[in-house]
C-alpha cells in the first residue's frame, strides 16, 4: 500500500521528480566515469613497460631515469659509455640487454636509437611484444621505424623521408637535414610512449652526430677522395667512417632482462657500485610505484571531487523532498485519519528517496555504459585507454551501493520532518 502511494505520488509530481532524478543520475555517472578512467589510467600506466628487470642509466634520481628512459619525459643529464653497456650485456645473469640512445626529436616526437634487440625483447602491458603494422625493422643507417601515433598524426607512410632535429622541441632550428631518414616500418598501436617515438639504429644516431660537437655542426673538411666514407671531426679526432659509426661512443640507458628475476636485487647493487663510471640501476616496477604515488594524488583528488558531486546531488534530493512537505500536509492528514501510523508517513518519504536514488543510479549507470560504448574507440585511439564497454566491476558495484545507502541517509531528514509534522497536525490542519 505504501509503495503504491509513493509511486502514484511521485508520478503526480513527475516533472520535478525527473529533474531530481537527473541530478542524481549525472552525479552517479560522473562518479563511475572518474572511477573507470582512474582504474584504466592506472592500468595503462602500469602497462607501459613489462618484462624489463632493470633499467640502467647515468647516476641521477630513479624517477628521473624512469621518466626519460621509459616515458620520454625530460632529458638525461649524462650518458653512459658504450663500453659499460658491453660489460653489462656480457654479465652471466643477463639474458638480454637493449641499449637506447635519446636526445633527438622530430616535430616534437622523440627519436630513440637502439638495436634490433629492442624489437625482440621489449615488452609492455601483459608481456606483449612490439609488432609491425607495416614494413620492416630498420636494417641500416638512415632507416626509421615509427610509432603508431607518429605515423598517424604526421601522416607518414613507408618510404617517406623524415628529417631529424638535434635536441628536443618543435622548433627544428638545428636540423640534421644532411641526414634525412627513410620510413621503413610502422609499429602497431600499443597505448604506451612507444607510439610517440621514432626508432632508428644506434649507428644512425652516431652517423648523424659524426659532424657535430657539443650540439653544433662542425663544417666538414673534405679529405682526399674519401667522400662520405671519411670524415674529420673537430679537434682532429679521426673517426673511421661506416665502421666507426657502427661503434657508438655513448648511449643513454640500458634495459636489462635477467635469466633469473631473483637476481635483480643483487645485480642492482652490483651495478650501483660499478667502479668504471657512476651508474644507476632501477627496478621499473618499484620506481613506477614510486612515481604513481606522486601522480596518484591528483587521481584521488578527482575521485574526491566526484564524491562531492554525488553528495551535492543527494542534498538536492533532500531539498526537493523537504520543499514538498508543506504542500503535502493535507495528504499526510488524510492518511493519518485513515489510520496510518506516523512511522508509515515517515516511511513514505524514505521510500520516495529510495526510489529516486535507485532510478537515478540506474540511469547514471546506463549513461556511463552508453558513454563508454560511444567513446571507447576514440579514447583508445587518442590516449591508449582501453575502456571495456558493458562491464561492471565489483568496485563499481560497491560505489553504486554506497550511493544507494547515501540516498537513504539523505531521506532521513524529510522523513523525520514528516513524522513530526504529522504528529503535530493530527487529522485536521489549520491553514
Amino acid at each position: 500500500m505504501l509503495l503504491k502511494i509513493t509511486r502514484a505520488s511521485l508520478w503526480n509530481r513527475r516533472f520535478a521528480v525527473a529533474l531530481t532524478l537527473f541530478t542524481v543520475a549525472i552525479s552517479v555517472a560522473l562518479l563511475l566515469a572518474v572511477e573507470r578512467l582512474r582504474v584504466e589510467t592506472r592500468r595503462s600506466f602500469a602497462s607501459t613497460i613489462s618484462g624489463t628487470d632493470l633499467i640502467v642509466g647515468a647516476r641521477t634520481g630513479p624517477v628521473q631515469l624512469l621518466l626519460y628512459s621509459v616515458f620520454r619525459i625530460g632529458d638525461a643529464s649524462n650518458n653512459i659509455r658504450y663500453s659499460s653497456f658491453q660489460e653489462l650485456a656480457a654479465l652471466p645473469q643477463v639474458a638480454w640487454a637493449i641499449p637506447i640512445s635519446l636526445g633527438d626529436s622530430h616535430r616534437g616526437y622523440r627519436v630513440l636509437g637502439t638495436t634490433s634487440t629492442y624489437f625482440e625483447h621489449f615488452r609492455y602491458a601483459d608481456q606483449r611484444g612490439l609488432k609491425l603494422a607495416r614494413g620492416a625493422e630498420f636494417a641500416g643507417i638512415g632507416e626509421a621505424v615509427l610509432g603508431a601515433e607518429v605515423a598517424a598524426r604526421l601522416g607518414y607512410e613507408i618510404g617517406d623521408a623524415v628529417v631529424i632535429a638535434h635536441g628536443i622541441g618543435n622548433r627544428d632550428i638545428m636540423v640534421h637535414d644532411d641526414q634525412p631518414f627513410r620510413v621503413v616500418g610502422i609499429l602497431e598501436r600499443t597505448g604506451t610512449p612507444v607510439d610517440r617515438t621514432l626508432h632508428v639504429s644506434l649507428q644512425s644516431i652516431e652517423a648523424m652526430h659524426a659532424d657535430w660537437q657539443h650540439g653544433v655542426r662542425i663544417p666538414r673538411r673534405p679529405t682526399a677522395g674519401d667522400g662520405d666514407a671519411s670524415r674529420e671531426v673537430g679537434h682532429d679526432v679521426h673517426v673511421a667512417p661506416a665502421t666507426a659509426a657502427a661503434a657508438p661512443q655513448t648511449i643513454t640507458a640500458v634495459f636489462l632482462g635477467l635469466k633469473n628475476r631473483a637476481a635483480a636485487f643483487a645485480l642492482q647493487r652490483q651495478i650501483n657500485e660499478y667502479s668504471g663510471e657512476p651508474l644507476l640501476a632501477i627496478m621499473p616496477a618499484m620506481t613506477m610505484a614510486q612515481l604513481w604515488s606522486l601522480v596518484g594524488v591528483a587521481e584521488s583528488a578527482l575521485l574526491l571531487v566526484a564524491w562531492c558531486v554525488v553528495v551535492a546531488g543527494l542534498l538536492g534530493m533532500t531539498t526537493a523532498l523537504v520543499s514538498t512537505l508543506s504542500e503535502r500536509r493535507r495528504e499526510m492528514a488524510i492518511l493519518r485519519a485513515i489510520g496510518a501510523r506516523p512511522w508509515q508517513i515517515a516511511a513514505l518519504l524514505m521510500l520516495e528517496s529510495a526510489l529516486i536514488t535507485l532510478l537515478g543510479t540506474a540511469l547514471g549507470v546506463s549513461l556511463v555504459q552508453l558513454g563508454v560504448l560511444l567513446l571507447a574507440p576514440s579514447l583508445s585511439g587518442q590516449f591508449g585507454l582501453h575502456l571495456q564497454p558493458l562491464t561492471f566491476t565489483l568496485r563499481e558495484l560497491g560505489l553504486v551501493l554506497a550511493v544507494l545507502v547515501g540516498g537513504q541517509i539523505a531521506g532521513i531528514l524529510p522523513a523525520l520532518l514528516a513524522y513530526r509534522r504529522s504528529l503535530a497536525d493530527g487529522l485536521t490542519i489549520r491553514i
Binding site: M1, K4, I5, A8, S9, W11, N12, R330, E331, I334, L335, R336, A337, I338, G339, A340, R341, P342, Q344, G426, L427, T428, R430
Partner: protein, 226 residues
C-alpha cells in the same frame, strides 16, 4: 458505543479548551453536534480519533478506554472502527475514486476482511450507491472530480468495511443546497445500511432536524461557560 466522561483538554496550562462532563453515542445512532468554528470541535474529533490525548477524563470507544491505550493501539482502533469525512480535500489527488475508497482497507486488515472477498467490487458498489458513475471516474485522478463527487467518494471510503462509527466534520459546507441534501440522504442511508453510528459536526442548524439527537457543544462545554 462512544462515551465521554469528565473530559478535560487544554493546549496551554490554565487555559482549558474542553471540559465535557458527559457525551455519549449509541450504536447506530446519529448525533448532530453543533458548534461554531473555534469551539473546540476539531480538537474533540482529534481526541475521539485517538490522535490527541486528554489531560484528564475518559473516552470509551467500543469498550476501549482510549487514555489507557498506546498511540499504536489508538491508531489501529481508528483505522478499524472509524470512518472520517472532512469538510474538503478528503482524497489523495493522484489516486482515482476506487483507489481512494480502498485506502481504508489498505491500512486496516479488519476492514479489508469486512469488505468481502473482493474489496474492489465492494468499493465500486459503494460508489454506485453514492450515485457515482464508476466507469466514468475510474482511472481519473480524484483532483479532477467536482467537490460534490469528492465528498461522495470520501463518504464511500468512510463506510467501506462497515466501521462502527462515522465521523463527519462539516462535510456539506462546501456544497450547494441541492448537492448537500442529496449527499446527506445518501450518507444517512449508507450509515443505516452499514449499522454505523454517525457523529455529525456542523454549525448549520437547518440540518439538525434530520438527526436522532442534537447537542450544542457550547452548552455542554463547561470550559466555555465559565
Amino acid at each position: 458505543m462512544l462515551s465521554i466522561e469528565d473530559l478535560r483538554f487544554s493546549w496551554q496550562p490554565g487555559k482549558p479548551l474542553l471540559d465535557l462532563p458527559s457525551l455519549s453515542l449509541g450504536a447506530g445512532e446519529s448525533l448532530f453536534l453543533r458548534g461554531p468554528s473555534g469551539s473546540g470541535k476539531s480538537t474533540l474529533l482529534n481526541l475521539v480519533g485517538g490522535v490527541l490525548s486528554a489531560q484528564s477524563g475518559s473516552i470509551r470507544l467500543l469498550g476501549h478506554a482510549l487514555e489507557t491505550l498506546k498511540p499504536r493501539q489508538r491508531d489501529r482502533l481508528r483505522a478499524d472502527h472509524i470512518g472520517f469525512v472532512f469538510q474538503q480535500f478528503n482524497l489523495l489527488p493522484y489516486f482515482d475514486a476506487i483507489d481512494n475508497v480502498l485506502l481504508s482497507c489498505g491500512f486496516s486488515p479488519r476492514r479489508a476482511e469486512r469488505a468481502g472477498a473482493d474489496p474492489r467490487a465492494q468499493a465500486r458498489m459503494l460508489l454506485e450507491r453514492m450515485q457515482m458513475d464508476v466507469d466514468e471516474v475510474a482511472g481519473r485522478p480524484a483532483a479532477e472530480l467536482s467537490v460534490g463527487q469528492q465528498q461522495r467518494v470520501a463518504a464511500a471510503r468512510a463506510l467501506i468495511g462497515a466501521p462502527e462509527l462515522v465521523i463527519a466534520d462539516e462535510p456539506t459546507s462546501a456544497l450547494d443546497a441541492d448537492t448537500r441534501d442529496d449527499f446527506l440522504a445518501l450518507l444517512f442511508d449508507e450509515c443505516r445500511r452499514a449499522g454505523a453510528a454517525l457523529l455529525f459536526v456542523s454549525h448549520d442548524r437547518s440540518l439538525e432536524s434530520r438527526f436522532d439527537r442534537s447537542v450544542d457543544l457550547i452548552e455542554i462545554n463547561r470550559a466555555r461557560a465559565t
